[in-house]
Amino acid sequence: MKQLLRNISVFLLLVGCIRFSTSAEESNSKTESVPAFSPEQLEFFEKSIRPLLAAHCFECHSGQSKRLEGGLRLDSRALILKGGDSGPSAEPNKPDDSQLLQAVRYESFEMPPNTRLKKEQIDLLARWVEMGLPWPNEKPPAAAGATETFDLEKRRHEHWAWQPIKEVAPPVVKNKSWSEHPVDRFILSKLEEKKLQPSHAADKRTILRRLYFDLIGLPPTPAQIHAYLNDASANATEKVVDQLLASPQFGERWGRHWLDLMRYAESRGHEFDNDAPNAYQYRDYVIRALNADLPYDQFITEHIAGDLLKQPRIHPQNQFNESVLATAFWYLSEWVHSPVDIRKDETDRFDNAIDVMTKSFLGLTVSCARCHDHKFDAISTKDYYALYGYLQSSNYHQVRFESMVQNQKVAEQAELLHKLKQKILTEKLKSTFAVGVKNFSQYFQAANTIAHQFPHDKSPALDVEIQQQAATRKLNPAILKSWVQFAHSGPEKKDRFFASLLIDSDTAVSLEPVNSQAAGKTNSSDTIIIDYSNCTPENFITDGFTFGLSPRTRGTLVLDQTNQQIPLTAISEGAARRDSLWEDLADINSPKMNQKNKLRSFPRSGRTLRTPTFEVQGPVSYRIKGGCWVYACVDSHRMLFGPLHGSTLKKIPATPENQSRWITHDLSRYKGHRIHLEFTVLDKQPLEVYQVKQGAPQSDQPLTSISLKNEKNQQLAETIQHQSRRGQQAIQNAFHEYFDSENTPGSQAVSVINWMIAHPDLFSEPQSKARLSLTKEIENYRAQCEQLKQTIQTKSQTAMAIMDGSPENDHVLIRGSHQNVGPVVERRFLESLNGVSPDSNQGSGRLELAQAINAASNPLTHRVIVNRIWAHLFGRGIVPSVDNFGVLGERPSHPELLDFLALQFLKQGRSLKQIIKYIVLTQTYQQASQTTLDVSEIDPDNIYLYKMHLKRLEGEAIRDALLSISGRIDSKMYGPSVPIHLTKFMEGRGKPPVNGPLDGDGRRSIYIQVRRNFLSPMMLAYDTPSPFSTMGRRNVSNVPAQALIMMNDPFVIQQSQLWGKRVTTESKRQSTDDKIRWMYESAVSRLPTPDELAAAKQFVQELTKHTPPTADPAIVWAELGHVIFNLKEFIYVF
C-alpha cells in the first residue's frame, strides 16, 4: 500500500513537472527539455512499450525503415512529439488527443495497417502517453538512408528545360550544297559530326503523299497528283503546302492531334457514361482556331481564360463568342455521379485538369507533386496545390455562347434604360403625389368627418357634402371622394394604413418585426454569406443576364401589372431580382444519349445566380420571394444522380400569396465542405433573392404584412384631429425619405410609398396632368422594355465553359490525402517559373495565369509546342517525350535546333501554320525514307535524321482515307457528332441508345462521337488513346486485331464495294490496266510497277473467270480494292 502511494505521489509530481516542461516548450519551442522520468516509468517503457513499437511500427516509422511512411519516425521521443506529415503524433498526458492512439484505435489512420493491435496493447500505449511518454535520454538513431532534401533552386538550375531559350545561329556545315535552310544546317551539322549524311530527296509523289497526310490527313487524288507533277515551277511544293494549310481539312487533321492532349470525349465514363453535353462545340472551336491560324498565345489564353477576355473573339459570320468555347478544356474529364467521398472526387477532377494543363502547355508532370514534392523536377507540392485555387475560384457551366455578344448589349441597354427611367419615374411619382401628401391631414379630417356624418355611403346627400367641403377647404373633390370611400371601407384597411404610417412616429403602436434582417438584427452567431441589399459587384455572380447586371436596392421602382392604376412597385428589399425581360430564353440542345443527371432536367444556362463559395457549418438559410431551383454545389460536384446527394437540390415553387420567406436547406451532411448555392429561375415564376446565411432562419414574418397587436391599439381611435396630425407627419417623413434623400429608403418608407401606389386616387386625381404624365411614362417604359425584349437573342446553343466564382485558395493536402489537410496555399503559377499570386479580390486570376504561360521568357511553352509540331511531322520529337520535358523525360537530340525553332515561332507571331510550313520546306523533311547507307551501328533509331521516318497512319487517317478513296466521304464540317456504330461485341452500362451508321455517314473520323465507355474498336486497335489524360505521343502497335479489321470488318468491306463501283462508273478508265493504275494511284499515290500491274491483272482475270457474266463487274473490282486496302503501303507513309 505504501509503495503504491509513493508511486502515485511520484507520478503526480511528474505530471506537474511534465506540464511545466511542455509549457516551457511552447514558450521556447526550439529548445527541448526532456523531462526526468522515474526508473519505474523507464522500466515500463523498456518492458512494454519499446518492444511493442519495434514489433509493430518500426518497419515503416523509424530510421531503419526502407521507406519512411508519412514522414513519421517513432524511434525517439523527440521525433514522436515532432511527428510526421500529419503533425505531432502524441500529446503528452493526453492519449485521446494523440494521433498515435487514434491511429491504433483505427479512428483516424488505421495502424498498423494489416493487423489491429490487441486491446491490451492499445491500453499500454495509452498509459504510456498518459505518463508523458517516458523514454530514456538518448539520441535518436541515425536514419539508414538520409532522405534527399527538396531544393527547388538547385533543381531549376541543373535541368536543361528550365534554362532560358538561347539565340543560336545556324551552324556552319561542310556540305554547302545540300540546303541553305537554317533547320537543315542544324540537322546536317549533327549528321556530319556523327559521320553521317542525309538521304537523297524523296520523289515528288512521295513528297506529295507525305504532305497530304501530314497536313490534312487525306491522300491526294490522282488529279491533285498530276497537277503537282505538271507544275515545273521552283516553288511548286511551296504552293501545295500553302494550299493544304489553307484548306479546311487542315484544322480537322491537326485538331485531332490537339484533342489527344485534351483527353477529348463526349461522355463522362463511369457507371452510366453520361453525356458531356455539347463537348463537340469545343472540337469545332479547335478546328476553326487552327484553320484561322490563331496565334498560339491567344489560343492558350482562350483555353485558360477565354471567358474573362474584355474583348472576346467573335465568329466572323455567326457573331458568336469564340473565345469562351476554348475553356471547355478544363472540364473534359471523367465525371462520377454522386460519389460517396465527394471531396476526394473533387481532388481527382482537379488533379486531372492540372495534369492536362501542365503536360499540354508546359510539358511538365506537375501532378507528380500531388503527394510529395516532385521526385525529380523543380516542382513542389505547394506548387501543385497553388494551382487548385484557380479551379476553386471558378466553375463549370453551359454558356449561351451564341447569344452572349448580342445579349450583353441588350443587358447594358436595359441597365441604362432602368437607370434613366428610375430617375424620371421617381420624379413623376413625386409630383403626382406631392399635393395629396401635403394636404393629407385636410383630406383625412374632412373625409372622416363626412364619413361619420354619412355612415351609409350611398346617401344622395354625400356627393353634395363632398363638393361643399372640398370647396370650403380648397380641396380636390375627386380626391376627397376617394378618401370618403376609404373611410367607409372599414377599420381594417384603415388600421393597416395607419400601421404603415405610424411605425416610427411616437405612436403607441407596436408592430411585429418588419424585417429584422434588414435592420441588422441578425443573430450574431450566424454568418451572412451574401446580402444582396449590400453586395459588392464581385459578389454578384451570375450566369447570364436573367438577374440583370446588378442587384436592385430597396425602393427601386419596377413595373408591376398587379397594380392596375399605376403599374409600378417599389421593391421592398435589396435583392438579386429576376428581370422578366429575359423570361423567354430557350436552349438549343444537342441530341441526348445518356443523361442521368438531375441538374440536366431543367434549363439552367443563362438563368442562374450563384453565391460566393463558403464552408458549410450547419444549416444554410436563404430568404427569397417567388420560385426557383436551388442547387448546393458541394466540392464542385455536378453529376447528381441517385439518392446520396439528393438533398443538395431543392425545387421551391412560388407561393400563391408571393410573400418573401426563409428557406432552410439541410446540408448538415456537408459540414466542413466548401460549397456555393446556385439559384435558378423556375419556369416564368418571379424571383427575388435577398440573403443567404449560415444558421437557422429568423422568424418567417413577411416584410409588408403589418398587424396591430398592441392592446393600446385603442388609442388609434383617438381624435381624428390627433390622428391626422400624426399621420401628416409620418406620411410626409416617408415621402421625404423616399424621394428626397440620397440614402436607400427604409423599409417603412417603401411600404408607405407602395401603399400610396396601390391607392393612388387618395393622393392624386386620375385625370391630373401629373398623373397622366406618370402613367404615360410607365406605359412608355413598358413599351421600351418590350422593344428591348424583342432584340434579345432568346435562342442559343450552349457549350461547356468555365466562369469565375469568388476568389478562393485551397489547402495543401498532405501525402495527397484530402483527409489530411495542411496549410492554405495562395493560388499562383509555378515557383520555378516565377509564379505570383493574382490580386485575390479580382476573381480567379486565370487571365494572369495565361499570361504567365505565354510569357516569351517562359522557357517551356514555346519549346513544347514546336517540339509537338516536329514530332507530328517527323514521327519523333526533338524531345521524344513530348509531354514531359522534366528530368524523367528524354533529352533533346538537337537542343540548339529546338531553341532556334522556338524563337523562330515567336518571331513569326506564334503562327502554327508558318512554323509547319517552315519545317516541311526543309530538305530534312523532304528526304527519302530509305537509304543505302548502312548506319545501324551509329544511329539505329534514326535520331539524327539521316533519312525520313516511316510513319504509320493513325486509325482516323486510315478510316478517312478509306472513305475518301471509296468516294463515300462527306466533307461536311462541324456540328453534333455522328453516333458510334455499335457492334454486338460492344455492351455494358451506358450503352448509347442510338446505334450509329456503319460508315459514320461518310463523315471524317473527328466527327464520330467519342464515348468513353464505347470507344470505336477500330480506333482502339489503331492506338487512338483512351481519353483520360494528355497523350501527345500515341503508341504505334502492331496487333492482329488491326489485320482482322482490314480483312473482315464490314465497314472496310463496304468501302471496298463502293470503290469497286466507282472504278466501273467514275474512273473513266476503260482498260483493265488503266483501271488498276487508277486504283493504285488513288490509294497509294503512285503507279504500279509492271510486276504489280501483272499480278493484279492476273487476279482480276482469274476472278472474272469464276464470276458469272451476268454479275456486276464492280464485284471483281471491289475484291481488288479490298486487297489494295490491305497493302501495308496503304497504312504507311514513306
Partner: protein
C-alpha cells in the same frame, strides 16, 4: 516501350541482322515485338513461377461476404436492431441504412478443412480444400466504377492497364494464334465498361480481347468472302504486292511487323472456330460444367467456364469471366437480396465447381490460378428492408490452384462482418500475390509513363505469403 526491367532485350534490328534474309526473320521480330503473341516466352521471370495462367472469376456488383464465405452468427442475434446503436455506420452509397440483417442462408462446413460455406454455394463448397478463402479484403472505393477500375487496374481512375494486360506485358503469351488476355463476356460488362480490360498506356497489343461464349467468339474473325478460296486468293495477291513494294523500298521493320500481323490474324481466324467448337468435349465433361442445367444463366456460365479451360489449355495467359445476365441484376442487391443472390449463385455455382474439378483432373489446376471476387462486399445491415448496400471495409475473395494453399481461411472481419480486424488485404496485395505466383516481383514489373515508373500495384502491395503453398 521502356520496360527492360525484367525482360531480355532483343532489338528487332539484332534479329534482322542475325538472319540473312528478310521476310521470315522479320516475322519473328514481329513476334518478339508483340510479346502478347510470342511463340515462346523469351521473358525471364524474377523467380520460378508456380502458376502459368490466371482465370479471374469476376463477381460483378459485389457479393455479400456475410452470405457467402464469412459466417457471422451475431447478425442473427441482433437481427432487426439498429446498427448505429452498436457500431459506427459509415456513409453508404444509397444512404438508406436499415436494420441489422441476418443472413437468409445457413452455413455448413465442407471438406476435410471444414471451412463453412453458405448454402448459396453447395458445389463450390465441395472444392473448399483447394481454396484459400480471404475474409479480409478491403477496397478504397464504395462506388462500382471506381472500385471496378481499382480491382482491375490498381487505380480508381479510367485509362490504366488492366491486370490481364500487365500479366501479358510481363510474361508474354504462350499461344501463337490467340490473344494473351481474353475476357469472356457472359452478358454483363461491368460499370466502367470495356476500359476495365484495356491496356491503358501499355501498347494496344496487351488489351483484353472480348470473346462471347458462343458463336464466332470474337469480332472480325469471320471471313466476309463467300469462299475461303477467294480469301486465300486475295491474301496471296496481297502478299505478292507487299513483296513487290518491299523490293522497291527496302526492308522496314514496321512493315515487316505489319505483314506478320496478317499471318497471325489469319491463324487466329483459323484457330478460333476450333476453339469455339465444343463438339470434342465428352458428355460427362459438359454435364460437369452444367451444360444440361435447367437454369439458362447456368448454361451460359458453363460455356464461359469451359471456354476458359480451353483457352488456358491453348496457353492463353489471362482469362477473365464476366457475369451472366440473370434477368434481375448482377451481384448488386440493394434490394431483394434473397431472390437475386440466389439467382446469381445458381448461375455460377456448378460451372465454377466444374471448372475446378475439370482443371484438377487434367492436371491443369496446379498451374492455373483461379481468383474469385467482386469489387467490394455488402453491408451486414439492410439497405431498406431486404437489400444490402456496398461495403468496401471488409469482404471475401478466394483463390485456388496455381500455388495456393487449399483449405484455409485468411484474415477476419469484426463480429458483424463489417470491417476488417485481422490481416487486412488490399486489392494491391491480391495483385502482388497474383504476380508473385506467376513468378513476377510486383515492385519490379514497371512501365515508364508520364514521368513515372508505373506498376499494377502503384506504390503499394504486399505478397500474402500465408496463402501460398
Amino acid at each position: 516501350m521502356q520496360c527492360g526491367q525484367f525482360r531480355q532485350q532483343f532489338t528487332r534490328r539484332d534479329i534482322l541482322k542475325q538472319c540473312a534474309n528478310g521476310f521470315g526473320a522479320a516475322a519473328l521480330t514481329a513476334l518478339m515485338q508483340d510479346q502478347a503473341f510470342t511463340g515462346e516466352t523469351t521473358g525471364k521471370t524474377h523467380f520460378p513461377p508456380k502458376a502459368k495462367n490466371v482465370i479471374f472469376l469476376y463477381m460483378d456488383g459485389g457479393p455479400s461476404q456475410v452470405d457467402t464465405f464469412d459466417p457471422k452468427p451475431l447478425l442473427k442475434k441482433y437481427n432487426g436492431k439498429s446498427p448505429g446503436d452498436y457500431f459506427k455506420v459509415e456513409a453508404t452509397q444509397f444512404d438508406n441504412v436499415g436494420k441489422v440483417l441476418e443472413s437468409p442462408w445457413k452455413f455448413k462446413p465442407y471438406g476435410e478443412s471444414g471451412i463453412p460455406v453458405s448454402d448459396l454455394f453447395p458445389q463450390i463448397g465441395g472444392c473448399i480444400d483447394d481454396m484459400a478463402v480471404i475474409r479480409s479484403v478491403v477496397s478504397q472505393f464504395p462506388e462500382h466504377t471506381f472500385a471496378n477500375y481499382f480491382l482491375h487496374t490498381g487505380s480508381g481512375l479510367q485509362g490504366r492497364p488492366s491486370m490481364g494486360a500487365w500479366v501479358n506485358y510481363g510474361l508474354g503469351s504462350e499461344c501463337q494464334n490467340l490473344p494473351g488476355f481474353v475476357v469472356i463476356n457472359g452478358g454483363l460488362i461491368p460499370p466502367g465498361g470495356l476500359d476495365c480490360f484495356n491496356s491503358g498506356f501499355l501498347p494496344a497489343s496487351f488489351q483484353g480481347s472480348i470473346f462471347k461464349p458462343g458463336g464466332s467468339g470474337i469480332a472480325n474473325v469471320e471471313r466476309q468472302e463467300k469462299t475461303s478460296q477467294t480469301q486465300v486468293q486475295k491474301l496471296k495477291l496481297m502478299q505478292q504486292l507487299d513483296r513487290f513494294k518491299q523490293q522497291q523500298s527496302g526492308i522496314h521493320d514496321e512493315i515487316e511487323s505489319a505483314i506478320s500481323n496478317y499471318e497471325l490474324a489469319y491463324k487466329m481466324q483459323m484457330a478460333i472456330p476450333d476453339l469455339m467448337s465444343f463438339t470434342s468435349e465428352s458428355k460427362s465433361t459438359l454435364d460437369l460444367y452444367g451444360f444440361n442445367a435447367e437454369y439458362e444463366p447456368t448454361r451460359t456460365y458453363a460455356a464461359e467456364c469451359l471456354l476458359a479451360r480451353r483457352l488456358v489449355e491453348r496457353g492463353v495467359r489471362f482469362v477473365e469471366l464476366t457475369c451472366t445476365n440473370v434477368k434481375s441484376d448482377r451481384w448488386d442487391q440493394h434490394s431483394n437480396l434473397k431472390r437475386d443472390h440466389e439467382n446469381n449463385a445458381r448461375a455460377v455455382d456448378q460451372p465454377i465447381a466444374g471448372l475446378i474439378k475439370d482443371l484438377k483432373q487434367r492436371g491443369l489446376l496446379e498451374s492455373t490460378l483461379i481468383i474469385w471476387g467482386g469489387e467490394f462486399g455488402r453491408t451486414p445491415f439492410a439497405q431498406g428492408t431486404n437489400g444490402r448496400d456496398h461495403n468496401p471495409f471488409g469482404f471475401s475473395m478466394w483463390m485456388a490452384g496455381g500455388g495456393i494453399k487449399g483449405g484455409m481461411t485468411y484474415g477476419a472481419t469484426d463480429d458483424w462482418g463489417y470491417k476488417v480486424v485481422e490481416n487486412r488485404v488490399e486489392i494491391h496485395d491480391i495483385h502482388a500475390t497474383m504476380l508473385h505466383l506467376l513468378g513476377l516481383e510486383h515492385t519490379k514489373s514497371t512501365f515508364r509513363f508520364g514521368g513515372r515508373d508505373m506498376r499494377l500495384t502503384d506504390v503499394h502491395g504486399h505478397v500474402i505469403h500465408d496463402v501460398i503453398a
